[in-house]
């Protein structure tokens, strides 16, 4: 039963991809829309990572753009150093660059995860803001990586790769959250002392959540770097971190489908309102305030969107992710 459902889902994902590729090939999907769709994938990966740290494990982090920039510059650094050109070598170099970005970002995630053993709540949030800013300023002053003018790159990763990597991330997070590791993370969010008396190694899981979340941000950064032609430290500022947090909160802390929804809504809205730059932030702010009044737990709360199966893969037996 279970693998049948998964097969149907995979087929649906494949059909969607083939459809968009054909339509894009014929020019029926404009380049702007395709760009938005790629950005949606990047933001979904970012939101998934932050959701693991903040939504599931309960560690408020506002430095996610820092991890993203580390991944972006890590991947960019590989592409630059080996002077990768279009051609068959891409099959090797793109995964290599992306994985390198993921690993470097995850290593920094562990580094930032360690202080969480001592810091909680607001104090942790401040430390993560500081981390994001430090990364940005270091990059700004590193001539080898382009400094303030940034690092020009080629577009080697398109909609297709972004789409499949996004799906891979969803599967990864979904399985992690529904494993005993994920349950341990949720238990820490719910009540740290109780989790500790259950024999859950809270230190280990907090650091693990940071490492995986940061790794995903690194992946998103790597895709971004290889898609946008150019990366600059100023792109990965505090506002970017905040934007990702808003997506997670908007969708519902602790809901995978929620944060996917949040990422889609925010990215589409940002791009659609791009033609009115003056009032864009006003509209976004009004929407957020309204949201928080009428749905204070986000679009989804901690529940998951269920597919119309008898028991959809995004809703599990005895759903531990459920509840306010």
């Amino acid at each position: 039963m279970r693998w049948e459902k998964n097969l149907i889902l995979l087929a649906a994902a494949g059909v969607f991809f083939v459809l968009t590729s054909i339509l894009a090939g014929r020019g029926l999907i404009s380049r702007f829309v395709l760009l938005t769709m790629t950005q949606v994938c990047i933001y979904i990966i970012l939101a998934l990572g932050l959701n693991l740290i903040t939504g599931f494990t309960g560690q408020l982090s506002i430095g996610h753009a820092g991890f993203m920039s580390i991944g972006a510059y890590g991947a960019g650094f590989i592409m630059k150093t080996f002077d990768v050109q279009a051609g068959p070598t891409l099959i090797f170099f793109i995964p290599f660059a992306l994985i390198f970005g993921v690993l470097v970002a995850a290593a920094f995630g562990v580094l930032l995860g360690l202080p969480t053993l001592r810091l909680r709540g607001d104090y942790l949030a401040i430390a993560t803001i500081g981390f994001g800013e430090i990364v940005r300023i270091v990059l700004l002053n590193t001539k080898a990586l382009g400094g303030a003018s940034g690092m020009p790159l080629k577009q080697f990763v398109g909609w297709g790769a972004a789409y499949w990597l996004m799906l891979l991330s969803v599967v990864l997070i979904y399985n992690f959250v529904n494993s005993s590791h994920g349950r341990a993370c949720i238990a820490i969010r719910e009540n740290e002392i109780a989790a500790e008396t259950m024999g859950i190694n809270t230190t280990k899981y907090k650091v693990m959540a940071f490492a995986i979340g940061a790794g995903l941000a690194g992946l998103a950064g790597g895709i971004y770097a290889n898609h946008m032609y150019m990366i600059q430290p100023s792109t990965f500022n505090f506002l970017k971190s905040f934007e990702i947090l808003v997506m997670v909160v908007l969708g519902g802390l602790g809901s995978i489908t929620g944060c996917i929804l949040g990422a889609i809504v925010m990215t589409v809205m940002n791009n659609a309102l791009g033609i009115f730059p003056e009032i864009r932030m006003i509209i976004v702010s009004v929407l957020l305030v309204t949201m928080m009044i009428f749905r204070p737990n986000g679009l989804m709360g901690t529940t998951e969107l269920r597919l119309p199966f008898r028991r959809g893969p995004f809703g599990t037996k005895g759903d531990m992710t459920n509840g306010g």
Binding site: R183, A194, T197, M198, N201, G323
Partner: protein, 235 residues
Amino acid sequence: MLELENVHVYYGAIHALQGISFRVDEGEIVTLIGSNGAGKSTTLKTISGLLRPKEGRMTYLGKDLTAVGAPDIVKLKLSHVPEGRRVFANMTVRENLDLGAYQRRDAKGIKKDMAHVFELFPRLEERQAQVAGTLSGGEQQMLAIGRAIMSQPKLLLLDEPSMGLAPILTRQIFDIIRAISQEGTTILLVEQNARMALSVADRAYVLETGRIALSGDAGELMNSPEVSKAYLGGR
């Protein structure tokens, strides 16, 4: 089974436990009584590894506890029911119990123990799909104890199980504590309700500002004039 020797614990500059020594033997119910701030909860937290002693020795089943972290202490079959119940409020009763068995991998044994918990607390079985935060205080206490039993403890640390409960519920909880003890689990009980605690315990220690002031047979302490005056409201 458990032995503390000259244990000192600090909260920053505050000297919370000032050289505590006591022991718990297998099969006993031992209670620590004392007023607010005497260090009762601190003692339990230190035993279960949530706090670290600065000085002193703690041995449990012949092992040095001071060198073991909280997660591994649970593996040694020592379980702590923290003060104020601390159930996972957004999870169901069943999920709370599942987490109690977090370190176990024997699905069959877990199932058996779950049935046993439901036998001890029929209320929990009725409410197993209910979110724990919506249970009454007494039910939450039952859940907290049930959750601890799921880790198959040999020694159970109970911190203020009667806190905020009506007298009738308190009595129920104490009946359960007695039943758990009769099944062979050793119990170290911390209580404000000294009369209740002394009535169920074999031996007792009286804590006063981080020191053991009195110790002895529970029945004797119940009748001792000092305890009666200070904790039981006697003349």
